[in-house]
Amino acid sequence: MRNPVSAWTAAALVLAGSLYVTAQEPRPQPPPGGRGGPPSGLQQPRVNAGANDKPGVDPVAAAEGKKIWALECITCHGTNARGTDNGPNLVRSLVVLRDRFGSALGPFLKRGHKMQSGRSSALLSDDQVLMLAHFLRDRVNDTLRGSSEFEVKNILTGDAKAGEAYFNTEGKCTTCHSVSADLRGYAGKYEPVDIQQRFLFPRNATPGGGRGRGRAGGGAAPSPATAITVTVTPPNGEPVSGVLLQLDDFTVSLRDASGWFRTFTRTPALKVTKTDPLAAHRALLETITDKNMHDVVAYLETLK
């Protein structure tokens, strides 16, 4: 999503090599569309200009910008450009938010702004301004929903011993699970956050899965072990059972063991019994405390 990575990485590498001189290479073509291109003379990246509200960022240019940032700006504006006592938060700055590849930052810095080196910012080259612009846009993007900066931090805060006790007694987990059978070696299969998600919401869990980054696979086909089943008994007929496909006030549909899709019109005389193998897990959400939850994750994480 973020950082529609450009084709101009090579060009950026050239730029990187020419940090304090003006690049000699021919300029790449300006991005198609997009408003407010850089003022004349500024390097035009072949990065996707993006919609007006989402300009593209080139990670290589942003990384180069970070170096300039560390040399000239960081003490006043902070590591993530969120401000210090000596300089404002630039993630909320309209100069930065209006900027497109140096279009606003360039003129601002050309007017002469304090820098750590004591030099005037007017001396920054157009390429340096462009790299700073990429760096700052990247810091804005850090804050957006779905930003790749946003990752689960340490969730292994529970007490494994307490988790084990809960597993074996109050949680009644052993009615259906065993650490020497289905949960054997469980810790090796998933990241802690996936363990947390899978035990709280087994229906969302992708069967099999893998050590991912905690994004529980929604929408995957339910495993047979989690599928809700239904038994329909007509007034004078044999009961029919199968995997529930649809249930409302008017009809009930299922796929029976031999693979046939069956639909029944609901009447008061038609008996419908739903069975959810995860009913205990649903009920668990009503009673489990956050402490129990963290303890259980810590315990399951010991099942190497």
Partner: protein, 529 residues
């Protein structure tokens, strides 16, 4: 010379706005006829209740298909989005939107009269709630921050005004509302830390008349004491992304505001964060605040309180009262005195686990342990909320407030544990939920009946009628009619997908219609006898 031209334009415009044969007279907004649905909620009250009885609990089983219209954006538009707004019906024409698109559809035949496509410069294309109409003009918002006016006759553009800043990730989605010859428009956006606001425009020229900020912008602004500092307040969110309701007698409009910013990580905004997640009464002529009630003090779960604040008169403890009620996204139901914002009833309409009870002002007291945590906190409702934007309904006939409620659990994580988070800084993951249509007795806040969506879930919007019916999208990609008194499901019809808006109803040539959107299709049902 210039002046002469201007005067001529002004006269023409005034005539246009007075409402010709095909236009909407302002009186039609205050007392809408049953042959119209002239604004998002049908009338200013937000009740979505119709007095029509031709379709009723006794005969609804005979309701049959009228016509189906599929959104057609023309050759250029590959994806026209889905119907998350409510069509407006004026003089036999339905005006319908999706982001960047407006259609005029003949309400009797389903035939398209015209289509308007907007050349977009960006913005979040998540949904559009619809148009407002006055005279022969309609008004709608675009994702790239414009308020646009079209001629209802042919869809030609009258004017466009920029109402927000795309560079700050604002966008337009809400249906504007016409009040006292003003176009009232709100704004959306919940990525960056920016303030929500509401503004009024002149319907003829489009000029802005006033702007009200949901969060304090400078010293002396009310609510500043509920923020740690001016900078936090100024960037504190509170988007106004749902249509307002209005009481013409009190001349107060009721704005509902969204979540505070930063959204999930909240260390740098200690305090209640007024007036985010609130119902706010404003004077529509000045934009001045009369009162506010905050339903989620210091929200940390992205629980906008933008759910419709429904206006009705009733009795509380035997006393006749002017009331306003909301089933908020945080799972709690509030009935307030709409003259002063004092809470009379507070209850939960979907059991929650994040509060420590109510304070003496009737507001839920957040349990700090259920704020998002680095290692996760199990919370219900989830981020989607117990209710969201789909509109509820109130029937004065049954005295019941109906809302599709979702009871879902998820784990809320803080991703940015630093002291100065920006934007989101966390989110929720996972989830398990069930949903049900709740009929709430407004006098007590107790659930009178609950209709569970057994085979899945439904968040659809609602409509109630004097025919003792409630219409709702169901869990089987269907439109369902329920007995408003008992909750018994009486009729349903399969759609192309789940209902994606709230149904409306009207009568034309002696026939009552029910219209609902599902994805990119508009379905019309009619009682033919």
């Amino acid at each position: 010379m210039r002046r002469v031209v201007f005067v001529a334009i002004a006269i023409v415009s005034a005539a246009v706005l007075a409402g010709g044969a095909q236009g909407l007279d302002p009186a039609g907004l205050v007392k809408p006829g049953t042959d119209s649905w002239p604004m998002y909620n049908g009338d200013y009250s937000g009740r979505r209740f119709s007095t029509l009885t031709k379709i009723n609990a006794d005969n609804v089983g005979a309701l049959s298909l009228g016509w189906v219209y599929r959104l057609n954006g023309g050759a250029a538009a590959a994806n026209v989005g889905s119907i998350k707004g409510t069509p407006v019906l004026v003089n036999g024409v339905l005006y319908l939107t999706s982001p960047d698109h407006v259609w005029a559809i003949d309400a009797r035949t389903g035939r398209e009269q015209w289509h308007f496509g907007w050349d977009s410069k960006g913005g979040t294309h998540i949904g559009n709630r619809g148009v407002a109409i006055l005279g022969e003009s309609l008004f709608f918002e675009t994702p790239d921050c414009h308020l646009v006016s079209l001629n209802i006759k042919d869809g030609t553009e009258r004017w466009r005004k920029e109402i927000c800043d795309l560079d700050q990730f604002y966008y337009g989605s809400v249906a504007p509302t016409i009040i006292n010859n003003r176009v009232i428009a709100g704004v959306s956006g919940d990525d960056l830390d920016i303030p929500g606001y509401m503004q009024a425009h002149d319907p003829v020229t489009g000029e802005m008349q006033w702007r009200w900020y949901a969060v304090p912008q400078s010293k002396g602004d009310p609510g500043l004491e509920s923020w740690p500092n001016e900078d936090a307040a100024k960037h504190g969110g509170g988007m106004t992304w749902q249509p307002v309701t209005y009481d013409p007698d009190l001349n107060l409009m009721y704005v509902t505001t969204g979540n505070p910013q930063p959204v999930i990580a909240h260390k740098n905004r200690a305090g209640d964060n007024l007036f985010t997640a609130s119902i706010v009464a404003l004077n529509p002529d000045t934009g001045k605040m009369a009162w506010a009630f905050q339903s989620s003090p210091h929200d940390t779960h992205d629980w906008d309180s933008t759910q419709t604040a429904v206006v009705f008169d009733g009795e509380i403890n035997g006393q006749p009262r002017k009331l306003i009620a909301q089933a908020a996204r945080n799972g709690h139901f509030f009935v307030l005195d709409r003259t002063n914002g004092k809470a009379l009833v507070s209850s939960d309409y979907a059991k929650t686990n994040w509060t420590l009870g109510y304070n003496d002002r009737g507001q839920p007291i957040p349990n700090p342990a259920k704020n998002p945590q680095v290692d996760g906190a199990l919370v219900t409702p989830n981020q989607g909320g117990a209710a969201n934007w789909p509109p509820p309904t109130f029937s004065p006939q049954t005295g019941l407030f109906y809302v599709n409620a979702t009871r879902a659990f998820s784990v809320y994580y803080i991703y940015d544990p630093g002291d100065n988070p920006q934007g989101w800084g966390g989110t929720d993951r996972g989830g398990w939920g069930e949903s049900m249509l709740q009929a709430i007795d407004y006098k007590t806040g107790k659930i009178r009946w609950s209709h569970k969506w057994e085979g899945g879930s439904s968040r659809a919007g609602l409509l109630s009628t004097a025919g003792n019916l409630v219409f709702s999208g169901g869990a089987s990609n269907d439109l369902v009619a329920l007995n408003a008194t008992t909750g018994e499901a009486l009729w349903h019809a399969g759609l192309n997908g789940s209902a994606s808006n709230g149904a409306i109803t009207y009568e034309l040539d002696g026939k009552q219609y029910v219209v609902v959107g599902a994805g990119d299709m508009l379905w019309t049902f009619v009682m033919n006898h």
